[in-house]
């Protein structure tokens, strides 16, 4: 059994990973700019860069890297949280119908020709409504199965809406495949408050999650309130996921693999899994996005495709070299 406490070594490694992702993310891109000049520009010094290049760095590249960091952190945190609450290694942030609800919201908004700025808000509402619906239907029974039912139903409605509005199919798909395109800092401003709330709440309850992952009876015997903790954790994680999905569409796999990799490397306690998931999830998504926007430059790959393409083999590699998985 590895130590339950968060080790300083892994914490340092996580912070370093985020720093590396941030530096690489802003230094590299489809347009090659001298990294030293980029650094000077971001630190507020005068540079010889043109107005166009300054715009690229401050208005396109930096917000995109930051959004990647926040979305990655959110998805990994929510994944770790759901896996603990449900004691299910396959639980992911899109459980509870969040993806389907957000997808239906976004599809409907796009089909109704809503303004670009409205789409994330409608997606967010869809995600929250479907999560609440799942909770009400599955309360006291099986939340995961209720989530599956709600998801299937909403996916059917979404397909219907799409079918009735095939002329908007391209935009819907570009949303469904995940995107970290930013409109300046609009997406970040939208996401950040929810991300902060979710992170603070989930991290504050990480001990309760350790107890819950053993079992309700054990948790109760430790003087905790398993039902109440579970509800708070679920709400916080659902809120964070919904906000992330609303601005970035569906980015699969981060929420599954990052918490598992962290668990395999740094031990099975949620006291370390959750904070490390935040750090490594952030670094992972920002780096994968770097690949998405440079591999076929000046074109671009959908981020949702790249996360699984790099994530799955890496996950298998970690699985092979560490041999045991314990939840």
């Amino acid at each position: 059994m590895k130590p339950a406490r968060l080790s300083l070594v892994w914490l340092g490694a996580g912070v370093a990973a985020v720093a590396v992702a941030l530096v690489l993310g802003v230094s590299l891109g489809p347009v090659s700019l001298p990294p030293f000049e980029v650094a000077k520009q971001l630190l507020g010094f005068d540079t010889g860069l043109s107005q166009l290049e300054v715009g690229i760095i401050t208005q396109i590249r930096l917000p995109r890297v930051l959004l990647g960091l926040i979305v990655g952190a959110m998805l990994a945190l929510a994944g770790g949280c759901f896996q603990g609450v449900f004691r299910n290694p396959l639980a992911d942030p899109y459980l509870l119908g969040i993806a389907a609800g957000a997808g239906l919201g976004a599809t409907t908004a796009i089909a109704m020709r809503a303004d670009q700025a409205i789409i994330p808000i409608v997606a967010f509402l869809g995600a929250m409504v479907s999560a609440a619906l799942t909770y009400l239907l599955g309360q006291g029974r099986n939340l995961i199965l209720a989530g599956v039912a709600v998801s299937s139903f909403l996916a059917a409605v979404q397909t219907y809406v799409l079918q009735r509005n095939v002329d908007t199919i391209r935009e819907v798909y570009s949303w469904l495949l995940g995107r970290l395109d930013t409109h300046g800092y609009r997406e970040i401003n939208l996401l950040l408050p929810y991300a902060l709330i979710a992170t603070i709440v989930v991290l504050a309850l990480r001990r309760e999650l350790d107890a819950l992952s053993v079992g309700d009876a054990e948790a109760a015997s430790l003087g905790l309130h398993p039902q109440r903790s579970r509800l708070i954790l679920l709400t916080a994680a659902a809120l964070g996921t919904a906000a992330a999905v609303a601005v970035s569409g569906l980015i699969g796999f981060v929420g599954i693999i990052v918490p598992h990799i962290v668990r395999l490397l740094a031990g099975g306690s949620y006291r370390s899994i959750l904070p490390l998931s935040v750090l490594f999830g952030a670094a992972f998504l920002a780096l994968v996005d770097l690949a998405a926007r440079t591999l076929v430059a000046p074109g671009e790959l959908p981020i949702g495709v790249v996360t699984a393409f790099f994530g799955a083999p890496f996950f298998v590699l970690v699985l092979r070299v560490t041999r045991t998985v314990s939840l």
Binding site: V31, L52, I110, P298, E300
Partner: protein, 291 residues
């Protein structure tokens, strides 16, 4: 202020061009009665084909068109779908010819089993595809002569418009926006070929090494490419020149700085029928205004 004035003038010019041509295109429609021995009940499931049929005077033979066919005014619009065609619903119109752009879900075989003739008019890749499809439609509907006249008129109109494009030492570059996520069409596409004819250079060609024709351009690369003009085919999604100007990081782009952001009618821009002339007129008008 001047920029706004310019944009307004441009919009009016484009609108005027579109309306002006609408009448000229319809002017070629001779109200010839349906020729004997040819289909009398045509169903068109493609908006482009509908426009071709009506422009060559086959309109009176058309009994039903699909949900997206909206031109010319008064077409017999129904809720039939060309994307998810339903053989029963089509057969209920008792057509003797069905014109469609895609053979989705094996619809051609299903209709042929019902002894209904079909004519495919797939999305054109070049303007020659348009001419060929108009000729084929003319042949099968009994309007071969009118089809030939129509083709000649389109050719002449396009040539006259292109002749008006002022010569430049350095060709103008452009970006064609299909949606706000910067999906675009390269010069390898039908629409791109029209811009090439008008002397414009596409900035997205490099973003499409596998020649799909419709890549997604990265925002950074687009700003760096610095197009002289931006054409918006996504106004139905709420995009406007003002919104493009307000996009963070775009202020230094020539098209933004000079106010050379042109809105296109997305119906006209996504079809390959006789109204390519209207599209070319809008492009040429914008190019003539560009600095």
């Amino acid at each position: 202020m001047r920029r706004r004035l310019l944009a307004t003038t441009l919009a009016v010019a484009v609108l005027g061009a579109a309306m002006g041509c609408g009448t000229t295109t319809e002017g070629t429609t001779s109200q010839s009665s349906a020729p004997n021995g040819y289909p009398q009940k045509i169903v068109s499931l493609s908006a482009s084909a509908t426009e071709m049929l009506f422009a060559m005077g086959a309109g009176p033979q058309v009994v039903a068109v699909d949900e997206y066919s909206n031109y010319p005014a008064g077409v017999p619009k129904t809720n039939l779908s060309g994307f998810t065609p339903n053989a029963e619903a089509i057969a209920a119109k008792t057509p003797d010819l069905v014109v469609l752009s895609d053979d989705s879900k094996g619809i051609v075989a299903q209709l042929n089993n019902l002894k209904i003739k079909t004519q495919l008019v797939p999305a054109a890749k070049t303007i020659d595809d348009t001419y060929r499809q108009i000729k084929e439609l003319g042949d099968v509907t009994g309007h071969a002569k009118e089809a030939e006249t129509l083709n000649r008129k389109i050719k002449d109109d396009l040539a006259a418009l292109v002749k008006d494009v002022p010569k430049r030492d350095k060709p103008l570059t452009y970006f064609y926006e299909l949606d706000p996520a910067l999906y675009t069409a390269t010069s390898k596409t039908f629409i791109g070929s029209l811009f090439t004819t008008a002397g414009l250079v596409n900035v997205a060609d490099a973003a499409d090494p596998s020649s799909t024709g419709y890549p997604k351009m990265s925002a950074e690369a687009l700003i760096k490419a610095n197009p002289d003009m931006v054409f918006l085919a996504d106004t139905v999604m709420g995009e406007t020149p003002d919104k493009v100007k307000a996009r963070p990081g775009w202020s230094g782009v020539t098209a933004v700085a000079k106010g050379q952001i042109v809105t296109l009618d997305s119906d006209i821009a996504s079809r390959w029928g006789p109204r390519v002339v209207d599209l070319m007129r809008a492009i040429v008008a914008a190019v003539r205004q560009a600095q």
